[in-house]
């Protein structure tokens, strides 16, 4: 394969921490794993937490640090939702991999403990998105992990599992109880800023403090998102980036647009609200984003009573669910706004379902 142009690599990959101790903000895990590096003793691990907090990074980093680049390929199996096909494939893959015994002994300055590591990335999505498929993917992990349970115990001498997932509740109990669980916290703003400033320095970017705080707030603790936004903005707008540039890259809707929509709803005129909605849709703003920004505004606003807020929030939730189901953006937005209008004007709620 031709050598990669350095620039064509996403920054997310480029600045992925290579060593466990470089992982930001997750002290607990880092402490345990540093210990592992010294003693080469390691339990099964379950990493969970919101996206962009360093779960996969940590798992990859420890594997690299344990085996070094040479042994890595033969000792580490990385499986994620993109690779695996059916339960059989996963089962045979894991079994075959786990069955081959390995020797111990240090090589090239790496500890190389006498076991292998299997990283199951995105473990929770295996179950969640399976319904649509014809394959017995549903319960992928559930079925599979029942098989896994035994695999885990039978081969526990020679393998260590690293599960990586967003929601621990989707991992079945017997599996979870066999693992040491670590929660990855969303990154705080300072830590995020430190990382971003570091990258800016490496890439020769100019970021003022306002842009920096905008970046922290729009990425909501997700470092991957922040870095992706930064790279996008750098590509489009060159080396000095303002907070407006960041907003335009991130897909966040300008405040004025949402404000106008809210004002139209407050005015109580159906037609003007309808016009604003049509406008928002024509501008290509995603409805789910409109809803979430409306939600933020309404919760923070002092103009409405608690009851009004509650009514509106409930409706926004319903509409969001409908959007996830794939309902039409315009209709859902119109419905949500009409309910908001009714809440503002204290009109009675709900419609009877009988014909």
């Amino acid at each position: 394969m031709a050598p990669l142009l350095q620039s064509s690599q996403p920054w997310v990959e480029k600045y992925r921490p290579r060593r466990v101790k470089d992982v930001a903000h997750q002290d607990e895990v880092v402490r345990v794993l540093t210990n592992t590096l010294e003693t080469t003793n390691c339990p099964h691990m379950l990493f969970y937490g919101p996206p962009g907090t360093g779960k996969t990074t940590t798992a990859l980093a420890i594997a690299h640090q344990l085996y070094g680049p040479e042994l890595y390929k033969s000792r580490v199996l990385e499986l994620n939702a993109s690779d695996d096909r059916g339960i059989n494939v996963v089962r045979t893959k894991i079994k075959n991999f786990a069955a081959v015994a390995v020797g111990s002994g240090q090589q090239g300055g790496y500890p190389c403990p006498p076991y292998k590591i299997i990283i199951l990335d995105e473990a929770d999505s295996m179950t969640e998105d399976a319904q649509a498929s014809s394959l017995p993917f549903s319960d992928h992990l559930v079925v599979n992990s029942n098989a896994l349970r035994r695999t885990m115990e039978t081969y526990s001498k020679v393998t260590r599992f690293f599960f990586v997932c967003n929601y621990i509740s989707r991992i079945i109990e017997p599996l979870a109880s066999r693992c040491a669980k670590f929660r990855f916290k969303p990154l705080s703003e300072d830590i995020m800023s430190t990382r971003i400033v570091h990258i800016c320095k490496e890439e020769g970017l100019n970021l003022d403090s306002e842009a920096l705080s905008t970046l922290s707030s729009i990425s909501q603790g997700d470092l991957r998102r922040a870095i992706t936004f930064l790279q996008g903005a750098a590509r489009l707008f060159g080396s000095s980036i303002s907070s407006k540039d960041l907003i335009s890259v991130s897909g966040v809707i300008p405040h004025e647009v949402v404000q106008a929509l809210l004002a139209a709803c407050k005015s109580g005129s159906f037609d003007s609200a309808n016009k604003e909605i049509n406008n928002a849709i024509a501008e290509g703003y995603p409805a789910s984003q409109v809803l979430s920004q409306l939600f933020d505004m309404i919760v923070e606003s002092d103009d409405f009573s608690d009851e009004q807020k509650a009514r509106i929030c409930r409706k926004l939730g319903e509409s969001d669910k409908c959007l996830v189901d794939g309902a039409d953006e315009y209709l859902q937005l119109l419905d949500a706004c009409s309910s908001m209008m009714k809440a503002f004007c204290n009109m009675p709620e709900g419609y009877s379902n009988d014909i």
């Binding site: 024509a282 309902a327 209709l331």
Partner: protein, 354 residues
């Protein structure tokens, strides 16, 4: 050739409407550092045009020599083999396809083709682009499954393949995929921009435009440039030279729906419902998408209604559209909406006029 195709800008420099976006794209490409891209925006806003122009900018005129192929895949899925067939549009530099056509098996398409592309990676001779581009249309219609399987694949093969995703609503694209792409929002062109384009075409065709004529077409187009150009051409065919008060005929299905709406307003009875059903079927067998029918019907009804009733009617429209999406057969839900509307309206009439 239709004017829509004839006057489609071929290069990023010639783009009339989204010139700012085009300039940004050009910058992206000249830096040799193209990320994955996600284009989203309403129909007729120029997403496809921009993508085609971008490909040309990247690879030169070679990107325009496309061939249509019916490709077959055999996917080994554990215990059985799945056979898939899909039409692709490909040049030496890019492949374009519509994975959602494969229905629930779309995830295999996405994985297979990306892996295949990664294997046949073009050799870069002079430090030229060592990657191919995969254009995926209608990613919002991809199943969750396929979208999930996209995310790691995108990262893994990013050295050999760039994805350009294209969709109408980015709400239906999962956050995980969105966060891996550079998002390009393509808004619908403003009416004055449409007017500008129409005047440009008029000049090229050597047509005399009466004042305000282009503006009227733009107004009727609902900010869709494609539609504006099509109806401009229709007007040209119907009558030339243009007259000041020439009628810009609406789409026939729109007229049909407005007929249905006035039918519903005139009488609310099971008999009328039965008649309306026939008309709705007529629309559906002519391949008008059911959600478009429902939206248009709502639009027509809202025009005629008291503002008091509007809230309730739009609520039910949203409700039945959602159900339609979950269900299998659209006609039930459209008809349920009509019935519901009749009931509400009749109730309202009785309450007001006794």
């Amino acid at each position: 050739m239709l004017w829509v195709d004839k006057y489609r800008p071929k290069t990023l420099d010639k783009v009339l409407v989204h010139d700012d976006v085009a300039q940004n794209l050009k910058k992206l490409v000249t830096e040799q550092d193209c990320p994955h891209l996600l284009f989203y925006g309403p129909p007729g806003s120029g997403k496809k045009t921009l993508i085609m122009a971008l490909l040309r900018q990247m690879f030169g005129p070679g990107a325009e020599k496309v061939k249509v192929e019916n490709k077959n895949w055999k996917v080994d899925a554990g215990s059985r083999t799945i056979e898939l067939e899909l039409t692709t549009l490909s040049s030496t530099h890019h492949v374009e396809l519509n994975p959602s056509d494969a229905g629930f098996q779309d995830r295999y398409i996405v994985q297979e083709i990306i892996k295949e592309m990664a294997k046949n990676r073009p050799i870069d001779t002079k430090g030229k682009k060592g990657f191919k581009v995969l254009v995926l249309n209608e990613v919002d219609k991809l199943s969750r499954e396929a979208q999930h399987s996209l995310r790691r694949t995108m990262e893994k093969y990013s050295a050999s393949c760039r994805l350009i995703l294209c969709c109408n609503s980015s709400s239906k694209v999962t956050e995980a995929v969105r966060s891996r792409c550079l998002n390009m929002r393509i808004n619908a062109p403003k009416e004055d921009q449409i007017v500008k384009v129409l005047e440009f075409i008029g000049k090229k065709e050597g047509l005399q435009l009466p004042p305000g004529f282009a503006a009227r077409i733009a107004e009727k187009s609902g900010r869709s440039l494609r539609r504006a150009i099509l109806s401009f051409e229709t007007c040209r065919v119907q009558q030339y030279p243009f007259t000041n008060n020439q009628v810009i005929s609406p789409m026939d299905w729109e007229e049909y729906i407005s007929e249905i709406a006035s039918d519903i307003m005139k009488e609310q009875s099971p008999k009328r419902l039965f008649q309306v059903r026939g008309k709705l079927y007529e629309l559906l067998v002519n391949c008008i998408p059911p959600e478009v029918v429902l939206k248009r019907l709502l639009y027509e009804l809202l025009k005629k209604l008291d503002s008091e009733l509007k809230h309730e009617v739009c609520h039910w429209a949203a409700y039945y559209e959602h159900r339609m999406r979950l269900g299998q057969k659209a006609i039930f839900h459209i008809e349920a909406f009509v019935a519901k509307f009749m009931s509400i309206y009749k109730g309202f009439l009785i309450a007001t006029f006794g």
